[in-house]
Symmetry: C2
Subunit: 702 residues, 2 copies
């Protein structure tokens, strides 16, 4: 057997380490060249497949070995993505109590990325940039850290009612906050806290040109973080909806131009903005118009029963252009510093009307043409369809059946109702396709119902108006559902995802805490079946709603536009250290570290400070190649950053613990990644020159 | 068109809400019954599939529409899991800088669950249980929160060198910690911090019966959190390896029976424990035996060059039974309160020997029979194979070529080396199958190499001893790899996962931060190809290593064994509120809340306290059905819990902000989930009876 001389490869490694060579060797360009022969592009011209008898035998054998039937093989062929082939859609999903957003490729259902929003996440370095991490700071509520969110409803930014792929908004139900994600770099840029309410629900939904991001409330509270006991419920508790003004050029919500509408203390639920025929309006469901206050501990009926007594609740119909005008005319009052249009003003100005809706509805969804609002009452087996024309007419003609306890006019049900369609048990939410069908989730039936639109709908299904067409069982307890671009003015009618809340036996048992189950349905072949073609466990949080956008609408950056880019400000930073700038300077006890990171070293590799110094540390990632990400952590100091190609980061901390701390690159960046490190030397106070107490361990044998 | 009367369904909902009925309707048993007709079991007896000409045409059409070739169809058939079918293996993967562990099903590559370990995670409620969350407390280092980890190497517990499916250990490189996960409930039970070193790397690895969990170091530091400048490197810096004693009955590391070994300040890298023929030993690679100290900022060569100068580094060969005996004989000294066997002792007792190994190795992996140690030097295109028999003989015969600078005997390379096999550029890590093959990752080649074992290996491949058999390209830059049970005494030789570090163009661009790429290779058909059959993006952290266990070895609980179970103590808690116990009691400013949670209400639904009260809040989840999980959050108070079936939780916080705070169930538990809520009323100080300032918003129109 031939033995390798240990010195045989010396020349090669010397070369590898020589200037430039190491970089070139690991660069994506070099990799791309090297991989060219096996790379596949999404646009390749493939020869038509012909399956030979031997190949068919091979396929049949695998199917039999794995106990797959022909439907399974068809489903596999519909969802499998060969290496390097890109998914057609991105599903942006709420991450539920994880506080994050998940991006999932369709049809493969692969989790492409988690995006940290309300909960610090160390891979992305969100919340781990020193003592005064600006994003972590923004998570404080009344001065206290509230570092998680219950993300419910993501909303893609829209232009003329269609997803434009620029921004994504997401609501935090638990703490009434909104996160703003820039889809150029898939990074959370802003978290805003609602000053009126503690928790919310109907957030986020956008108006058709993303002028406003709507945040609806849920549980009645004393607006402005007030206090009142349940016996004062009707008097002191209120609901609200907030219209956050979005500044698209800045990519930020403009809090100074935002305002809220006071609502009765019913529990407002989901909202949807009108579009086209209903542009200028939005709609919010409500439940607990009983204003039940629970109290099972005192023998009262629990909320679940008390809030379900009445047969009808109220669809809130809001003319938001009028609301905007009233706000601009100075008709809002400040509560906890935030402008609020009071209920009386809403009534006076004709901003708010109610329509009766079957009890305890959950979803209200506007059809693609904007003509109809579909309300699904979870305790009524029908969907109820309202017409915007009928609503406008009823308002103009003042066809009110009553006023509610707070003086809000209630439109006559028969005047505004267009249709009711019986679908099954527990209907919740509705999405649409391009062929005249609607799709409604049935929670109690564990099914997706397909039904035909009717009336003035432009595109009509052959089954006739307002008819249940078919149902597909899902596993289990579907909440929201999401069709491809299924809540825009132009749905694609392609795939549909069932957000099944319970998975029970669908996957391997993962302890008492189980994943949810996202199931992909093929809804392309209208009139035929719409089978489940993939089950995908979601074991990183319980998502609530998601939106599915065509991947080619996204204009994502592959790397930051210039080296030294500040992602918080989305601009080149004048503070970003350049090559040659690196070093450590001091003024009093303030130390400034200027560092660059490039494969495979940080410069400087040693930083010497004194215990108690306040360090400002600036790093520029000098890389320009896609995927050449570095990380930077200081062990023991709770610092971890993701340094993406071109990114500039600054963080500040106090070196309050003496010792010699390794820092290192936390992203595997090259073959010499482990060598990409250095030391932070924090000299102990009052013991300047001497190594620390336990330093001297030299072996006696030496 | 028929209109539904809003009252038509009243009777049904009254029934639904009646005692018990609501529960029964939503219980998994009821669902299971209801779903029976469409449910599929993993063990069903399927009829052999025969694909008809029409079905073949349908399949071919899908393939052509989606531009799939026949290999794609075969790969799809090998990896697709029909709804309800369970994966064969679970891949427990490090979650990299996310601080978590990911559990992935094989062959579907679906992420089944993330398990929070070092980073608070709000879905699982880890770290969100009040001001003094016990787990969050354990994340403090020297009194400061360090709330993330760089998880590197998971280790499944073993019995006789085989995975037993009971526990999982995971190391935090950034902060030198170990996490202990109980695989009955997939929950992190313990985090231990190494008192000697700030960061580590070679953790965790277990001895064949999990007597010890091994934590190897990496970057030289001054042991015990000491301080020294680089000019004192050789004198003051050291490496270390720690042997943590595991108490299997308690399911905890026993810190009082654990100890460490002082090592020279080379950078120790990965470790592996011997087994069978090499039981009683473990092995650690090292690099930077140059003891380079970098200093690129001063014009010195950076670490990446300085640490790669010498042609050979040192394989550390450790007789751990002798080390244990020396520790038990009181030969350890305390450093920062932790027992350390000094280098001199290791030399005197014959505990530590070195063997030369080609420069800058990364992985050392012991063959299934324990006879050989495979070392892959990332800067040498060979793997180098050492024989335990040769090592034992060389030690016995004192075949030393030299001593190192610290007096450690260096065994003669030719005496201990069994073989060297040239594989390609950048070999890192090796796994094994059941047919006599080894599989090594090639980082620079972006490939997996299959090669034959030789010598005394029991099972031999037909290609003859120590021969490269073939390579499969992967995309891109593979780090670790993992074969089915591939580092145990009995590998399965089934699937192999390439942990490709860069994905570059493989998936849709997800911003400048890209996912990693786990690629599944089919290695079943020995001697033929071993194609990549699935690409899986990992967009929630950068994993380092993983282990793949047969799913049927896991004995996971579906729900907690009894209602009132404390998962921290893994026992029924006497403190768990029972049905009828609920209520709020007070002693001075200390308030005790006893609550139960059951579909679909909490009891009590109102909790009244005073501003400044210290609240202890106890909740029992009364559910016993699988997947009937509740959540519990208090908006604005940074509390979120996952209340799994039967689970008991206690948390404590100070009600330091007045107001009326909704609490609610954060897991979608039933159709009346939104109604599962209540209010925490925190009465403002000094203003006992009056509603807070902004409470009075009753509309003037009323």
């Amino acid at each position: 057997m031939r033995m390798a001389s240990p010195t045989r490869y010396r020349t090669m490694w010397t070369l590898l380490l020589a200037a430039g060579a190491a970089l070139a060797c690991f660069s994506p360009d070099a990799i791309a060249q090297q991989e060219g022969r096996r790379r596949r592009s999404g646009t390749q011209e493939a020869k038509p497949v012909e399956i030979t008898p031997e190949q068919l035998a091979q396929l049949t054998k695998i199917a039999n070995d794995r106990k797959l039937n022909v439907d399974d093989l068809l489903a596999a062929a519909k969802t499998f993505m060969p290496s390097g082939r890109h998914d057609e859609y991105v599903l942006f999903s709420s991450g539920g109590q994880s506080g994050q957003v998940f991006a999932i490729g369709i049809p493969s259902m692969r989790l492409l990325r988690s995006i940290a929003v309300f909960t610090p996440e160390s891979w992305q370095g969100y919340g781990f940039a020193g003592d005064k991490d600006p994003i972590r700071e923004s998570l404080k509520i009344n001065g206290k850290p509230v570092e998680w969110g219950d993300t419910h409803h993501p909303a893609l930014s829209e232009t003329k009612g269609d997803y434009d792929g620029e921004f994504l908004f997401i609501g935090d139900k638990a703490n009434a906050r909104l996160g703003v994600i820039d889809l150029r770099d898939w990074d959370c840029k802003q978290v805003v806290k609602n000053p009126l309410t503690i928790s919310d629900h109907g957030a986020a939904f956008v108006t058709p040109n993303t002028d406003y991001v709507i945040e609806g409330g849920q549980y009645g509270t004393v607006l402005g973080y007030g206090y009142a006991l349940p016996e004062d419920y009707k008097k002191s508790y209120r609901g609200m909806v907030t219209m956050w003004k979005f500044d698209r050029a800045k990519g930020r919500i403009d809090e100074s131009q935002s305002f809220a509408l006071e609502l009765p203390p019913y529990w407002q639920d989901l909202a949807d903005a009108g579009k086209l025929a209903s542009d200028g309006w939005f709609f919010i469901n409500s439940f607990n118009t009983e204003m039940a206050t629970g109290g099972v501990e005192k023998g009262s009926p629990p909320f679940e029963a008390g809030a379900s007594k009445r047969d009808m609740d109220y669809l809130h119909i809001i003319d938001w252009k009028k609301a905007e005008a009233a706000f601009k005319a100075g008709k809002a009052e400040k509560v906890n510093g935030f402008p609020l249009l009071k209920l009386a003003t809403l009534v006076e100005e004709g901003i708010l009307h109610f329509a009766p809706e079957p009890k305890s509805p959950h979803g209200v969804d506007v059809t693609p043409d904007g003509k109809y609002m579909v309300v699904a009452g979870k305790l009524d087996p029908h969907v109820t369809v309202y017409s915007i024309e009928r609503i406008k007419k009823a308002i103009a003609e003042k066809k009110f059946s009553s006023k509610d306890e707070y003086g809000v006019p209630v439109l006559d049900f028969d005047a505004v109702r267009e249709a009711q369609v019986e679908l099954g048990l527990g209907p919740l939410h509705t999405q649409f396709d391009d062929k005249g069908y609607a799709y409604t989730s049935l929670f109690l039936d564990s099914a997706v119902a397909r039904w035909s639109l009717g009336g003035e709908t432009a595109k009509k299904a052959p089954e006739g108006d307002w008819k249940l067409v078919q149902k597909t069982p899902v596993q289990y307890n579907i909440g929201h559902l999401c069709a491809a671009e299924g809540d825009t003015v132009s749905p694609d009618g392609n795939f549909l995802v069932s957000m099944s809340k319970w998975s029970v036996d669908r996957f391997l048992t993962t302890g008492p805490l189980l994943p949810q189950n996202f199931q992909l349905l093929d809804i392309v072949q209208s009139g035929t079946t719409m089978p489940v073609i993939y089950d995908s466990p979601i074991g990183v949080g319980e998502p609530h709603y998601c939106q599915m956008i065509r991947a080619d609408k996204l204009k994502t950056w592959k790397v930051y536009p210039e080296v030294g880019w500040d992602p918080h400000k989305q601009m080149l930073s004048p503070d970003a250290p350049k090559k040659g700038d690196e070093g450590v300077t001091r003024e009093g006890n303030k130390v400034l570290v200027k560092m660059t990171a490039v494969r495979s070293h940080f410069k400087p590799e040693h930083v010497e400070v004194n215990e108690g110094d306040v360090i400002t540390w600036r790093i520029t990632a000098m890389e320009t190649a896609q995927d050449a990400t570095h990380g930077f952590c200081i062990g023991g100091y709770n610092v971890n950053l993701s340094l993406e190609p071109g990114e500039y980061t600054e963080f500040t901390f106090t070196a309050d613990r003496a010792g010699t701390y390794p820092y290192y690159c936390t992203e595997f960046c090259s073959a010499l990644h482990l060598e990409m490190m250095g030391y932070l030397h924090v000299k102990p106070k009052g013991n300047a020159a001497v190594p620390a107490k336990d330093a001297d361990h030299v072996a006696a044998s030496k």
